[in-house]
């Protein structure tokens, strides 16, 4: 849940990037980190294995600016995508305000995407959330690769509730900020409702 601090006039929100292993969650954060002005970002933390696979999480704090005199800060987290890290994934979803599902557009990753999305659903329910009710966007990553399936097919498999979705190539940055803006906006609109 977001944390509103009237004393320091700050509002903090947590965004989690979810998706199958090697789909590009960390790459999304790295691109955002590299393209953000130094004064509006904090240090990026990656708890990864020696082979640069995410072990626990990546973390990137971003300051977006002020709304009504309140500083808005977004804390971006990724989960470890590999199936056997499920216990860690559950922990990172605690207190989440919005989720980005990063799908791998490659043909051979169709099953991995669906499995990961199911896993997201199960883990959110366990934490008391409902994916249909929290801010949620989908990113179809790796659109630059040759062996990809069409966006229509991806949509049919993954975007059953027609949430905002974006094509992306996280290595070049295409679609990365569009995705981030969309989820941040949904979270702020959700806050506006004052739940």
């Amino acid at each position: 849940m977001s944390f509103i601090n009237y004393a320091s006039r700050e509002i903090n929100c947590k965004i989690v990037y979810y998706g199958p292993g090697l789909c590009g969650k960390t790459t999304n954060l790295q691109f955002i980190y590299n393209k953000t002005a130094a004064d509006s970002k904090g240090k990026m933390i990656s708890l990864a294995t020696e082979t640069e696979r995410t072990l626990f999480f990546d973390f990137l704090p971003l300051a977006l600016g002020e709304i009504k005199g309140f500083k808005t800060r977004f804390h971006l987290y990724t989960v470890p995508g590999q199936v056997f890290y499920d216990a860690s994934r559950k922990l990172i979803l605690k207190g989440v305000d919005g989720v980005v599902f990063v799908a791998d557009s490659q043909e051979e990753r169709v099953d991995a995407n669906i499995e990961s999305l199911d896993n997201l659903n199960v883990n959110l329910i366990e934490q008391g959330y409902d994916l249909n009710k929290i801010p949620f966007v989908i990113q179809y990553n790796k659109r630059d690769l040759p062996n990809i399936i069409s966006v229509d097919e991806l949509r049919r498999d993954l975007n059953l509730t027609s949430v905002p979705d974006f094509e992306a190539c996280a290595t070049t940055g295409d679609g990365v900020f569009e995705t981030l803006k969309a989820i941040a906006k949904l979270i702020l609109i959700d806050l506006k409702k004052g739940k």
Partner: protein, 163 residues
Amino acid sequence: MATPQMVMYEEEYKKINYIIEKLLREANSKVIFLVDKNGQLISGVGETERFDTTSLASLTAGNIAATGGLAKLIGEKEFSILFHEGEKDNLHISIVGGRVILVVLFDSRSSLGLVRLRVKKASEELTAIFDELMKRAEEKEKSGDSEFPFAEITDDDIDNLFS
């Protein structure tokens, strides 16, 4: 939703800072942080400028979450105290009132025993304040008396953030 919204008001913020400043002196420690279980920094006193407080908060919460997961695996509710010993500096991490994390950094000028003793007393005081805070937030929500700053934001306000 899983956990109610965390809100901090000026009055409680002052009370909290008073308690942790007192703890800082009495425990002879270098820095004290209060962190929300979701990884957001609530407050910090002492030599805070030496540290990347945002990263510290997120890693502490990750640490508590991971050990909490371990605790459940062996049939414990949680491990309410963690202690990390370094060559010079040590970290004493404890859970206050079930939802907030108190981090005390200290060196050889203090001792684990002293820190534990002082933390225990401060925790009771902090728990009372956080209980109050939760009650206040719940009452506000029930009565619909929302001075919520975001209730009146417009789409333009949101768009402006990204311009």
